[in-house]
């Protein structure tokens, strides 16, 4: 399909329909469309290139095998994200061995306050830094989060799943997703502000 501006429109629903009918090329089209995002997700959650590759393969192979169970009441993308998250969490748990990675530990907005860095940003970082530099800064920041915050932020704010979808994918309650998301956003804000703040603005914090 051609859009008026000449770019090819990606019609997820149509491809899924054809794939469900046995059209393998259509399924390959879905893989083509989403592999970057699924690979990023897998890397960010597992923090390991080898595991990320396994997650990428297993997720798409599982989706292919189970396509008949996909009912189209959610988006295919949301579905494949959920499969990939499951695979990634399993990898993470396996690698950590007995040190179980629990996404469910109690957390509070503690007094060690995550808002020490009060400074405005110096212009627009997307214009100051190259795409490559930005990617590295954002990846490093996300890697500094604990797994539980990282996964929630990844699904809510990077993959743009809803709070409910995120809760379901991570087997967390909705309030747990909300409190983790708040912590994750504030910690990332803190880290990026250290990087992007306007020089000489520190005094502002003591006003």
């Amino acid at each position: 399909m051609q859009a008026s501006n000449g770019s090819v429109v990606f019609d997820e629903a149509a491809l899924v329909e054809r794939a469900r009918g046995g059209d393998d090329a259509a399924f390959a089209g879905l893989v083509e469309q989403y592999q970057r995002k699924i690979y990023r997700l897998a890397r960010n959650i597992t923090q390991n290139a080898e595991d990320a590759e396994d997650v990428l393969q297993d997720a798409f192979l599982k989706a292919y095998t189970n396509l008949g169970k996909f009912h189209g009441d959610s988006k295919f993308y949301t579905w494949i994200v959920r499969i990939a998250v499951n695979e990634a969490l399993m990898k993470l748990r396996k690698r950590r061995g007995d040190k179980m990675v629990s996404l469910d530990e109690e957390i509070e907005l503690g007094e060690e306050s995550v808002t020490r860095e009060i400074a405005v940003w110096d212009g627009n970082p997307e214009q100051t830094y190259s795409q490559e530099e930005m990617r590295k800064l954002l990846d490093d920041a996300i890697q500094s989060l604990k797994p539980t915050f990282r996964s929630v932020f990844q699904l809510r704010d990077v993959e743009e799943l809803s709070t409910e979808e995120t809760a379901e994918a991570l087997e967390l309650s909705v309030p747990a997703v909300k409190s983790r998301l708040l912590r994750a956003r504030l910690q990332l804000r803190e880290r990026l502000t250290k990087q992007f703040k306007r020089k000489g603005d520190d005094a502002f914090a003591f006003l």
């Binding site: 798409f60 954002l138 932020f153 704010d157 743009e160």
Partner: protein, 85 residues
């Protein structure tokens, strides 16, 4: 009468504010805190920017060898399925 929120109370509601999940009344209460409190204003502004840079970041291409192995695994699976019945 307007009840003034503390910064801590404001922060607890930060996500609801950012994700626009508040009632109109709560929103105006949060809004008046930001108008009075430069620190919380900065937190809102920089948190919004944090979310924006992540949403706007294009994922990197999958390394070619990784992508090739994925497609090869998929082709094997597809061939199995056709041959298997």
């Amino acid at each position: 009468m307007t009840l003034l929120l503390s910064c801590k109370q404001f922060l607890t509601e930060l996500n609801a504010y950012l994700d626009e999940e508040t009632s109109a009344e709560e929103r105006s209460q949060l809004q008046s805190h930001i108008n009075e409190c430069p620190n919380c204003w900065v937190v809102v502004d920089t948190t919004q920017k944090t979310m924006r840079v992540y949403k706007g970041a294009e994922p990197q291409a999958v390394p070619q060898d990784v992508s090739e192995r994925l497609m090869a695994a998929l082709r094997r699976k597809m061939a199995d399925k056709r041959g298997g019945c």
